[in-house]
């Protein structure tokens, strides 16, 4: 063993402190999320108690955040996520036909890169919209994200799912939240429809900011919002891997339930919890190439 230089030990020390800070921040956020949950739950329990004890007719229970957390994480949520492989299909094709690589391709090496890249490019937009879901904030975040997605395929994937989510909110969820944000979303939706033909659209309905705003309106915590958003990405990737024939449904569930996926999502949320949208960016440059070159595939089963 060689002795470490003083420089390295300083870097190591800083690294240890950084890690500790990140860990503490993550735990604080988790604790806050738990507290929020307790608040909402105890409120609901009180209401239920009142209903049980009083002879008055039962009052309607306000929509529970947990209920909407489950709906937003459901694969049956019609966002069309199954149509996108987030560069996986292109990555596989490039390795087969371009690099002529004989080594077996591991999904477990693509997955962490994809989560990391997705988090560093989209989480700042998601969380900023969650923290301020007003019309002004939402339309400005949407416009900035439109300028930040520098490839056609990625832009299509983001707006297709974002528009679907906008539709779900307007046609379905909104009825349970008649007073929430009605003006903000109405104005945003109008802007999206109006500008669809413009060369530089005023609003395109990208997925991340809309998802953040909607999670806020249905009462999820910021932590839950980020978690369900990244988990949705992982689920879409795993489902794409199954459909591309990389592995079967049991392996898929094994991957989804693994500590690795949970740990990665937590680590990404902690890393980009405070990242401002100006600092959102690509940390896996080849991912842009897989995405951008998806259109070059001779045969394809996914839209990205």
């Amino acid at each position: 063993m060689s002795t470490t230089s003083p420089q390295e030990s300083v870097i190591d020390d800083v690294q240890i402190i950084e890690d500790e800070i990140a860990d503490l921040e993550r735990r604080l956020n988790e604790a806050k999320a738990k507290r929020n949950h307790h608040h909402t739950r105890s409120r609901q329990q009180q209401q239920q108690q009142q209903q049980l004890t009083s002879s008055d007719p039962p009052q309607p229970i306000p929509p529970s955040p947990t209920h909407f957390l489950l709906l937003l994480s459901d694969s049956a949520l019609p966002l069309g996520s199954f149509a996108f492989s987030s560069g996986l299909e292109s990555y596989l094709a490039h390795h087969k036909h371009f690099f002529l690589s004989s080594s077996s391709l591991s999904f477990n090496s693509f997955l962490p890169l994809s989560i990391s890249s997705y988090a560093s490019t989209t989480l700042p937009f998601l969380l900023t919209a969650y923290r301020d879901p007003s019309f002004h904030s939402l339309s400005s975040l949407d416009d900035i994200q439109d300028a930040s997605i520098i490839c056609t395929v990625g832009r299509r994937a983001s707006t297709a799912q974002g528009r679907a989510l906008l539709g779900i909110w307007e046609r379905s969820f909104q009825h349970e939240f008649p007073t929430t944000s009605a003006e903000d979303i109405k104005a945003f939706s109008k802007l999206v429809k109006k500008s669809s033909a413009e060369e530089i659209p005023a609003a395109s309905a990208h997925l991340a900011p809309l998802f953040g705003a909607i999670c806020r309106w249905v009462g999820l915590s910021a932590q839950e919002t980020a978690y369900v958003f990244l988990l949705g990405h992982v689920k879409a990737l795993v489902s794409a891997a199954v459909r591309a024939g990389m592995f079967g449904p049991y392996q898929a569930q094994k991957t989804l339930s693994s500590g690795m996926v949970q740990g990665l999502i937590d680590a990404m949320i902690a890393r980009d919890w405070e990242t401002p949208v100006e600092m959102a960016g690509q940390n896996v440059p080849v991912m842009d190439l897989w995405f951008g070159r998806h259109e070059m595939l001779y045969s394809r089963i996914f839209n990205s």
């Binding site: 870097i11 036909h97 962490p112 416009d143 900035i144 520098i150 902690a270 440059p285 842009d288 070159r293």
Partner: protein, 330 residues
């Protein structure tokens, strides 16, 4: 900047360039100042006059940890400016990660003016910490050609994406005329964040996540002078052979007398051969009226040859800015 006296740059690393169209119809420099460690050179007897040429240099041939270079550039109406470098921009190592080496460029391009920035790539050494921010504000009919590329480091010394952190951010803004209908608008933000800090043990090391690429680059194009070049990149991208396509022709048909090929077609076949041999990956996209080209190459020299070949074949950079604009990409 209506003051007849140029603002002096008194802080270390600051520089200022104002390019304008001279009465004789060629571009010249109205303001040209810089402070150590930044160094700017403009040939006093330029061999070409299509654009005014400036070399962006630094004393000692690189940026030492903690250097903070800040360049403010103004292109007045219809001026043409070209900025190049002489060799890779080396970024030396930092003793601790909080010592950041920065390079910032703010460029304002007035109506009808055109800016060409085709430098050598940035070469971050092992242990370096670097942040680059380049903001370009384009008024109506302004044009820009920008190349931003970064290498794996000094391969001769075994470096392979061995730096601590490298971040690069490029923004193109369109500037309105102040009326209600045209407001300032972000057109494109290209941001790359590369770091050795692993947020989770399952994440691969930076070197591994680069998938064998030795250089990655981005080219941004916008404006009337870049129209044909942008279309060229888009059409060449659309013409790339499909991955996994098979040739279903019979042997007889394949061996039939070859069709007459144009010079462009012969160039394309040769270029595609190079892309395949050198595993050069690239893509081009139209993003909000700008063309964004992304490329990666295992070898820095192959990457240079590739981008140079594209620019030379299309020809409009040399035509608009002069041959000297291409000196770093051949």
């Amino acid at each position: 900047m209506n003051s007849p006296f140029p603002k002096s740059s008194s802080s270390p690393g600051e520089g200022r360039i104002v390019a304008k169209l001279l009465p004789e119809g060629i571009s010249g420099l109205e303001v040209f100042s810089y402070q150590y460690p930044l160094k700017l050179i403009s040939p006093s007897r330029p061999s070409e006059t299509k654009s005014v040429l400036v070399f962006l240099l630094s004393y000692g041939g690189g940026l030492v940890a903690g250097d903070n270079v800040k360049l403010e550039v103004d292109l007045l109406a219809n001026a043409k400016l070209t900025i190049v470098t002489q060799g890779h921009t080396k970024v030396f190592n930092s003793v601790t990660p909080d010592i950041v080496t920065r390079q910032t460029m703010h460029v304002n391009i007035a109506s009808g003016a055109a800016f060409c920035l085709l430098p050598d790539p940035v070469q971050p050494f092992a242990g370096s910490v670097y942040e680059q921010t380049q903001i370009f504000k384009l008024h109506q009919d302004a044009s820009i050609c920008l190349l931003d590329w970064v290498t794996q480091g000094r391969t001769a010394r075994g470096e392979n994406w061995s730096f601590v952190r490298w971040t690069g951010r490029n923004e193109l803004w369109s500037i309105g005329d102040g009326s209600q209908t045209t407001r300032d608008r972000l057109l494109v933000r290209d941001a790359v964040i590369l770091g050795s800090n692993k947020a989770h043990p399952q994440l691969p090391a930076l070197q591994e996540s680069m998938h064998g690429m030795g250089v990655i680059g981005t080219m941004l194009l916008r404006g009337p002078l870049m129209k044909t070049l942008g279309e060229f990149f888009l059409s060449e991208f659309a013409a790339l052979p499909r991955l996994g396509a098979r040739d279903f022709r019979s042997d007889a048909a394949k061996n039939a007398a070859p069709v007459e090929r144009s010079r462009r077609e012969r160039w394309r076949i040769e270029r595609l051969g190079m892309e395949k041999d050198k595993t050069i990956l690239w893509s081009a996209a139209n993003v909000r009226g700008c063309v964004v080209v992304k490329f990666g190459s295992p070898s820095v020299e192959a990457g240079r040859l590739w981008i140079g070949s594209m620019l030379q074949e299309e020809g409009s950079i040399a035509e608009s800015f002069g041959d000297h604009a291409l000196m770093c990409v051949r």
